[in-house]
């Protein structure tokens, strides 16, 4: 380009700036051949070391067992192989970069040069030519002359993406006529009248006397195991998980239905009504249930009411009783959808 100042050794030249220029200071490597030689050696050693580190990488890869764990203060227990591979490859790559930059700084010219800019806008004649070409094209195509063609084309282009939208419909195969819609699906769980409440993981049924006052159990419906095998997914678990707690019946201030507890044992959904995290922390003294995600807090002694946090709705309560063998069972499904709110929820 013609506007490059030849960059022999001139410093940046003054453009339109009102200030004088700063003189260029020569580096040691510019004036002292010994210093230049030293810089050359430095750069070459970095590249050489990089080569050696690649060999070290291969040696580590071949000789260190992948299961060897070492303890390193600060980092803790770590796999030796990971550390050594990271060190050798990282340093070898780093040294290529360090060498190149040292080279540029010490041995390549450090004189700044000046180039002129041009306005981004095209010169007027180019713009005129473009406009003329456009006009000619418009004229020749008759785009302006055939309004029917123009309008139908616009219509066709507008509709052209619609098939793609239809093609996305079967991302979910449900919700067709006769099948349940999303809000119906979200409104039902595996719980139904007489369904036994079993301990999560062990699937042991629970008798009221197994649960002392202040006690807490994570539980699921007895038919969950079968359902999970049948469906091959965890969907049912995500809705049916409950938490059982026992309190002194006199401490229960309110419930979502009359007599939904069994001798002070209450069952509440485990899925937060905010955006759906499973709830984990229960404080026995206050009967508060705390969601670890955004700290919504529900009072299980008071109908699962929200006492704190961003959740807007009570934790849904499951009505429970015992069957004729004395095991805890559900008396019905939840009376409201569990988990986060949704549009059709009402």
């Amino acid at each position: 380009m013609t506007d490059i100042t030849p960059h022999g050794s001139q410093p940046a030249k003054l453009g339109h700036s009102p200030v004088a220029d700063v003189p260029h200071v020569l580096r040691a490597t510019d004036t002292n051949p010994k210093a230049a030689k030293r810089a050359e050696r430095q750069v070459a050693s970095m590249f050489l070391l990089s080569i050696i580190l690649v060999i070290a990488f291969i040696v580590c890869y071949v000789t260190i067992d992948k299961d060897t764990v070492v303890y390193i203060p600060v980092f803790g227990e770590v796999a030796l192989l990971t550390i050594m591979l990271g060190l050798t490859s990282g340093l070898s790559i780093l040294l290529i970069g360090a060498g190149a930059i040292q080279w540029a700084k010490k041995l390549m010219p450090d004189v700044e040069v000046v180039q002129m800019r041009h306005e981004m806008a095209s010169p007027a004649d180019a713009t005129a030519e473009a406009a003329a070409n456009y006009e000619r094209g418009k004229e020749e195509s008759g785009f302006a002359r055939y309004p029917i063609i123009r309008r139908t084309l616009i219509g066709a282009m507008a509709l052209f993406p619609i098939p793609a939208l239809f093609l996305l419909r079967d991302l979910w195969s449900g919700g067709l006529s006769g099948k349940a819609s999303p809000d119906e699906i979200l409104s039902h769980t595996l719980w139904r009248k007489g369904e036994r409440i079993v301990v999560d993981e062990t699937y042991q049924p629970i008798k009221p006397e197994d649960l002392p006052v202040g006690g807490l159990v994570s539980a699921v419906p007895a038919n969950l195991m079968e359902e999970q095998e049948l469906s091959g997914n965890l969907d049912a678990r995500g809705k049916a998980a409950i938490i059982l707690v026992r309190m002194d019946p006199t401490e229960i201030v309110a419930q979502q239905g009359d007599g939904w507890d069994y001798q002070g044992i209450v069952a509440y959904s485990k899925i937060c009504t905010h955006v759906g995290c499973p709830i984990a922390l229960y404080e026995q003294r206050t009967h508060h249930l705390l969601c670890p995600c955004h700290q919504s807090t529900f009072d299980l002694a008071n109908a699962g009411a929200v006492v704190f946090g961003p959740a807007a709705r009570n934790m849904p309560q499951l009505p429970i009783g015992v069957d004729n063998e004395g095991y805890l069972v559900a008396l019905d499904d939840f009376a409201q959808p569990v988990g986060p709110s949704f549009w059709e929820r009402g």
């Binding site: 200030v19 890869y61 050594m84 990271g86 490859s89 970069g97 930059i101 195969s173 969907d235 678990r237």
Partner: protein, 577 residues
């Protein structure tokens, strides 16, 4: 002196071969000497680019081993604590990458660290561009691309974080689903379509996989390419300095200095990521366990770049309304959909808003010093303050336990702060900027205060001033003073009513707000007079220095020069009397 090596001959041959087919030498002729200005802050964008390349390389390696499937398998790898546990194939293959592929953990950790560095450097790069006004004409398109890139970066990070299907990432997905479900009218269906039914279903990981490794990286790559082509054709902006104007670029030529520095820097970034990936553990998914929708780990924390959203979710009051049988979950909609929507829209629109307010239609290639655009700088600091408050909200459980505070007090502190602190920071920043402008003006008029008071032998006190260095003078005088848009007339000279009066007057008011209190630079004549004055001062001081040398006048008591026979300070003088 010049020797021609076989490599060079081969290179020249190759260049000719390609040129005869593509005409590439024209391009090389124009561009091998292309000048790139240098500044440390220009490396931020480079870090983003290089860490993205590392993400691509390491991510491609991970795809060779990762299985994006939610089919349940029984783990039988070498991580003993999880042997025999039922888990998804996605999770078990990530365990395999971590424990059974030699170097797999290194690459996984490099991928994750590179992703974090990518998002972080991109964000800081964006701040640099904002505060220096680099987004102004002609670079508005590149600003918009940048905003899209940041958004895509967040999407890439979140989608990748969710792939291994561990307890932590699954909880993140559950939250994401809850957010989608909160969208009015289409939310419930949207969530069912995305997840192929209920949560968690069995489709989502493989769908997310396509998004994570193809869709988003492809879009990022395309955007980055356009971004760089624009930087190349428009030439880089530069900071003010001696010899630097709005019409030139001062810096190093592409070949060889810039190439060596930028190329070398790629290896530095790459090398550092490899070192960190080898040494510092990140996302140890084996600790969290496989995902199941009814369990959660105690303190759930997303990657840092999602923290602000989490904070917004945590601090939003629990509002929900029920209208005509439908539910509107403001408690989710506002923090997770509406606020981010507003933030990103405002970010993308900012250059156009500012240009409209200032009426400035000229090209800008010389960067603004943040102090010279106090309103913009104030707005930027205000936005950062708001972001930080949200981010703090995301860690409220950590703060609560570290400082033994109640959630309630933290949340109310934040809720009030959202409305109070950002405007406060705006006002404060603007005032600081104006103060700095005033100081700059002083410097131009009176030189640079040396911090020494001189007492001349006949008793007069003068404050020593030193002339500004060439560099400082260039930097300070780079400020352009633009007059705010004048107040419009209600009617023109002929008494015809100005129909656009309302909008024009609003614009003029905003423009006055933007520029109004700016401290104008002194005129050239004033600067000259100022410098002359400083020179005169220096002349006054000169004999004193000579005096000092001769008499060994020492500098005591806060830099007051004394002649040995004189009272040292005013106090001592008083005592003498």
């Amino acid at each position: 002196m010049s020797t021609t090596s076989p490599v060079e001959t081969a290179g020249a041959g190759a260049a000719t071969y390609v040129d005869q087919r593509l005409g590439s030498n024209k391009f090389l002729a124009r561009n091998l000497g292309k000048v790139f200005p240098d500044h440390w802050s220009f490396m931020l964008g480079e870090i983003a680019l290089y860490s993205f390349l590392v993400v691509l390389l390491t991510g491609t390696y991970l795809t060779l081993f990762f299985k994006p499937s939610m089919v349940e398998v029984i783990y039988d790898g070498s991580y003993v604590p999880l042997k025999g546990v039922s888990m998804s194939e996605a999770y078990s293959s990530t365990l395999d990458i971590s424990f059974d592929v030699r170097g797999g953990l290194l690459i996984r950790q490099m991928h994750h660290w590179a992703a974090l560095i990518f998002v972080a450097s991109m964000s800081v790069h964006m701040f640099r561009v904002f505060f220096t006004g680099a987004f102004r004409k002609p670079r508005e398109f590149n600003w918009i691309i940048g905003v899209v890139l940041v958004t895509l970066g967040l999407g890439a990070g979140f989608s990748g974080y969710s792939l291994p299907d561990d307890l932590l990432s699954g909880t993140g997905l559950q939250i994401a689903r809850g957010i989608v479900q909160s969208i009015p009218v289409i939310g419930t269906w949207g969530a069912f379509l995305l997840f192929g039914g209920e949560f968690p279903g069995t489709d989502f990981i493989s769908r997310l996989y396509a998004i994570h490794i193809l869709l988003i990286p492809g879009l990022i790559l395309a955007m980055v390419t356009v971004h760089l082509i624009m930087v190349f054709t428009q030439k880089h902006t530069q900071f003010p300095g001696p010899g630097r104007t709005n019409d030139n670029v001062v810096g190093y030529p592409l070949m060889p200095v810039y190439m060596a520095k930028a190329g070398g820097f790629f290896f530095i970034v790459f090398g550092i990521i490899a070192l960190v990936g080898g040494l510092v553990s990140i996302n140890p998914i084996w600790v969290f366990g496989p995902y199941t929708p009814d369990q959660v780990s105690a303190a759930t924390q997303p990657d840092w770049y999602i923290g602000w959203l989490d904070g917004a979710l945590r601090t939003m009051p629990n509002l929900e309304s029920h209208i005509a049988g439908f539910t509107l979950s403001w408690n989710v909609l506002v923090p997770a959909v509406i606020i981010p929507g507003i933030i990103f829209t405002a970010l993308g629109a900012y250059p156009f808003i500012e240009a409209w307010v200032t009426g400035d239609k000229s090209e800008h290639h010389l960067l603004d010093r943040p102090r010279n655009a106090p309103t913009r700088t104030g707005l930027g600091v205000m936005a950062i303050t708001f972001y930080l408050l949200l981010f703090i909200g995301g860690g409220n459980d950590l703060i609560a336990s570290a400082f033994n505070m109640s959630f309630n007090s933290i949340i109310w502190f934040l809720r009030i702060s959202y409305f109070v602190l950002p405007p406060l920071m705006f006002v404060l920043t603007r005032r600081i900027c104006l103060g700095l402008q005033r100081r700059d003006r002083e410097k131009l008029l009176h030189g640079y205060e040396a911090g020494r008071i001189l007492r001349l032998p006949h008793g007069e006190f003068i404050e020593a001033h030193e002339p500004l260095s060439v560099k400082e003078l260039a930097v300070i005088t780079s400020k352009t003073d633009i007059a705010p848009i004048p107040t419009p007339q209600k009617t023109d000279i002929d008494g015809v009513k100005n129909k656009k009066y309302a909008i024009q007057s609003r614009r003029s008011k905003l423009s006055h707000f933007f520029y109004g209190e700016n401290v104008p630079l002194p005129s050239a004549a004033e600067i000259e007079a100022g410098q002359a004055h400083v020179a005169a001062d220096a002349a006054l001081e000169a004999p004193l220095h000579a005096y000092e040398d001769a008499d060994q006048i020492s500098t005591f008591h806060g830099g007051v020069l004394h002649h040995p026979g004189m009272a040292a300070t005013n106090a001592e003088q008083q005592n003498e009397h």
